[in-house]
Subunit: 338 residues, 2 copies
DNA sequence: CTGAAAGCGCTTACAG
DNA sequence: CTGAAAGCGCTTACAG
């Protein structure tokens, strides 16, 4: 592979001129630029990113940090971010902080970031003060998707609004006996989403004067398997709800499956609603509150690019709330008892 | 942040010695090494990866190239690869080559790889000759997961065996009228998985003297939505199968949903089997042929690390076939008509 | 508009 | 065992 020196020699100019010409800086005569471009092209020249980084201090790489990767929500975000960044010649260095034991994630370290990335995008990741200090010390701009990180730019949905919409939908159908799946895991009390959604559920129930049954607030761990197991227990009781509001579609899918396995019909015997509009929700007929996950990834990437001085259209908002939308499908209906 | 010069000054040695001491090379006296380590630690010193790369020619970064990211299979691979690489101080630079129009992916370019990665892992990605030439020209080792790439090391399941297992399971239950979902998309004839699975299905059908109905071989596009739509059409006919073999769990889930939407009961009226053991398959009671996707990611990463001279345990195989396993759940049973 | 030179922060022979 | 020096391949003032 050829270097900038090869191009300079071949074009009969200095490497400084090649550098300027190729990067489109001014102060290069059109004729010179043209010649340099031609030679560079002939030689298949691509600047060594490693040398460019050392000299310029920029890597054109963004660290994307996720607590998991295998869930639909995160994979969709990463995909959208990668595409947006690539359009502006930036790349994503991926960090999956999931611990093998699932109960504690790996911390962000100087090793991962220092001189390696120009900025960081966090995906629903509460950061410790140490991590925040690190990012600051390294001078890295940061954009948080979902869970906010201090006062950094943030892209998210209105969590409370989403769950209010879901709950109101059930109430408007006539449900009064509503269970909730997706309470706050005790080891994840620092994540904001679960708490916000649960609070919103309670708020709507209260506002309609509906009783909250303690044993109808299920923890689950935000997986379909766990939601299914919890729902089995819930429905085994004589005193059962007519509807379930799940804090995510994956949990809602688990709940539906458990109900069916017990011989119940959906929505006749039990209504189920989720939040997300997961890739499989349409096919499974799940009523849900849709959030545009890819849009959140795109917007976060754009905000970060802007803070890196890379031109992108759009304003300079630093706080984006992506709208959600009720999508009614076959899993919700008025309670049969009515 | 401090540089190697700071450490050298503080420790009273040359930068060359610091470099050697920190990288654990021999020819450094224990006392000197200790002092250097201590100072480096005090100064929070981390070598600039960008400078290290320029000097050494290695980036400690591996390019992971996927045709999509949002499907469970790919996200699971990426997650496993990332963790394995990180254990050996390597990072993943992610490329999602999915085109916005879905019918043609972006090509790998010199820009993405040159001096940016030490090696490449492809995820079910058939490479063009141009791309292969590029990788060779750049001298990058490559490991292919799933779809093989020329004679490069390859990690996969036995596609034919997996579909044979699935089909044999249906036949052993007494099914004779079996449909197939997941034929080869015309625009993806170069991907090997669909063809291998379809061939295996046909082989088993023939070996049992069972007739293949042309209209029972459904194309779908490997998405649940498409499989659902195709199944709707299939089941609307009077002449319908008693079982469906789907080439992936996501399609099987779509098929089950469509059957239920038409009032059919699973498995009484229709048996459905998939391949994968998708994260939601357990909860949905889908019988499937399980493949250990994370293990494939781990092994591919290890093979690549070895070819980079990074010590990992394990042999030096270059061709790994990960075993699959029939997992019988509630979606398959003998045909009722029998 | 263009070039010579310093500098980015490491690694790697080469001497000693 | 240790250091001085060259080199990796760019970018960036600084002159002219």
């Amino acid at each position: 592979m050829s270097t900038i020196t090869d191009v300079a020699r071949e074009a009969g100019v200095s490497v400084a001129t090649v550098s300027r010409a190729l990067r489109g800086l001014d102060r290069v005569s059109p004729r010179t630029r043209e010649r340099v471009l031609k030679v560079a092209n002939e030689l298949d020249y691509v600047a060594s990113p490693t040398a460019t980084s050392l000299a310029s201090g920029r890597t054109q790489v963004v660290g994307v940090v996720a607590p998991f990767l295998t869930r639909w929500f995160f994979a969709t975000l990463v995909s959208a971010i990668e595409k947006t960044l690539r359009q502006h010649d930036h790349h994503v260095l991926l960090f999956d902080l999931e611990d093998d034991t699932y109960d504690q994630r790996l911390p962000l370290s100087q090793n991962m970031l220092w001189k390696r990335v120009d900025g960081v995008i966090t995906l629903n990741l509460p950061m410790t003060q140490d991590e925040l200090d690190l990012v600051d010390r390294l001078g890295l701009p940061l954009v948080a998707i979902g869970t906010p990180v201090a006062d950094r730019p943030n892209v998210r949905i209105d969590e409370a609004q989403a769950m209010r919409t879901a709950t109101e939908h059930l109430v408007s159908l006539g449900h009064e006996r509503i269970a909730y799946i997706g309470a706050v895991p005790s080891n994840k009390a620092h994540i904001r989403t679960p708490q916000a959604r649960l609070d919103a559920f309670r708020e709507v129930m209260q506002s309609h004067g509906l009783a909250e049954h303690k044993q109808w607030i299920l923890g689950s761990d935000w997986s379909a398997d766990s939601a299914s197991a919890d729902t089995h227990t819930l429905l085994a009781s004589d005193d059962r709800p007519t509807a379930i509001a799940a804090a995510s579609d994956e949990m809602a899918i688990g709940a539906m499956a458990a109900a069916r396995a017990q011989g119940l019909h959906i929505p006749e015997d039990l209504s189920v609603i989720g939040i997300d509009d997961h890739a499989l929700s349409n096919v499974l007929g799940l009523t849900t509150v849709r959030q545009d996950v890819a849009a959140q990834g795109r917007q976060a990437a754009e905000i970060l690019l802007r803070s890196l001085g890379v031109a992108t259209d759009g304003g300079d908002e630093t706080e984006v709330v992506v709208p959600t939308e009720l999508v009614i499908r076959a899993s919700t209906a008025p309670p049969t008892a009515l």
